[in-house]
């Protein structure tokens, strides 16, 4: 069982520079065809200062930084037993290429169902841009199949 003492645990902050080439790669990998996600002129014509990050892109920050991997190690959760149960985003401001975002997360809850056969870890995150403005909030539910 996951020790409930980790409820409230704060992960180290994860910084991610939103790179134009990376957004173009992401768009291609999901089959995105709207040019505002790959073509700077189209993005500017749509009112963005640079290519906008698609709705789920900032999820990458804590994967890139290793924060998620360290969290699983801290909680002693083997990655092969983990499933992504739920994911939520709240959007406050657009994020575009050239910005640097910082994600700060904490463990909001840990609970189990079916007599411990399934354990759940709820992580909540704030995403801020380099001016310190809150741009998005994330909510991730991880499921451990015992």
């Amino acid at each position: 069982m996951i020790d409930k003492k980790w409820i409230g645990h704060q992960l180290p902050p994860s910084e991610l520079l939103i790179e134009r080439g990376r957004l173009q790669f992401f768009a291609r990998s999901i089959g995105e065809t709207d040019p505002i996600y790959t073509d700077l002129a189209a993005a500017r014509a749509a009112g963005y200062p640079d290519l906008p990050a698609p709705p789920t892109f900032v999820f990458a920050a804590e994967l890139e930084s290793g924060a998620v991997t360290s969290l699983l190690e801290t909680l002693e959760l083997p990655i092969q037993k983990i499933l992504h149960g739920e994911q939520g985003f709240t959007y406050l401001k657009p994020v575009c290429a050239g910005e640097r975002v910082t994600v700060r997360s904490k463990i909001a809850d840990i609970y189990d169902k079916k007599g411990g056969a399934l354990e759940f870890v709820l992580k909540s995150s704030e995403v801020r841009n380099s001016s310190g403005e809150l741009v998005a909030e994330l909510r991730s539910l991880l499921v451990c199949r015992n």
């Binding site: 990998s29 999901i30 709705p55 789920t56 999820f59 739920e86 657009p94």
Partner: protein
């Protein structure tokens, strides 16, 4: 940017469905690199088998990214306020996913006129893989 007034959005309206090609290993390898999710269970069949799975399978976030395309193909991304999903089942290799959305409710969110859109992904056999909803501003 296309401007859609609240009058143009009707309760019960269905978003134009987004049909994806069948999931391939190449798609998963590219998404692993682009999304930063390098979990080998999605890209390394040896690892997946050791974990008790018959083969690699799609990242949940790939399906959510496709739902994101469904939404931003319908409304500019600047109108998207909330986007929440529950992963219901594993999306396997060869699954051809269709993303669907339907306007189900009008509501006020943060003082803005918005609608709630119910979302789903299903494979070619009608099995549901993701359920969710989004709040989109219509003012």
């Amino acid at each position: 940017m296309t401007t859609i007034t609240s009058n143009a959005v009707q309760l019960g309206q269905e978003l134009p469905a987004l049909e994806l090609p069948p999931v391939t290993r190449t798609m998963l390898a590219l998404f692993a690199g682009a999304s930063g999710d390098h979990n080998p269970i999605h890209i390394d069949v040896d690892f997946a088998r050791r974990a008790g799975m018959p083969d690699v399978f799609a990242h949940g976030m790939l399906g959510m990214a496709w739902l994101g395309r469904l939404l931003t193909g319908w409304m500019p991304q600047s109108k998207l306020r909330k986007f929440d999903v529950r992963f219901q089942g594993i999306t396997h290799l060869g699954n051809a996913i269709t993303c669907r959305g339907k306007v189900v409710e009008r509501l006020t969110h943060g003082g803005e006129d918005c609608v709630r859109v119910e979302l789903s992904t299903t494979n070619q056999f009608g099995q549901t893989k993701i359920l969710g909803d989004a709040i989109v501003a219509v003012a």
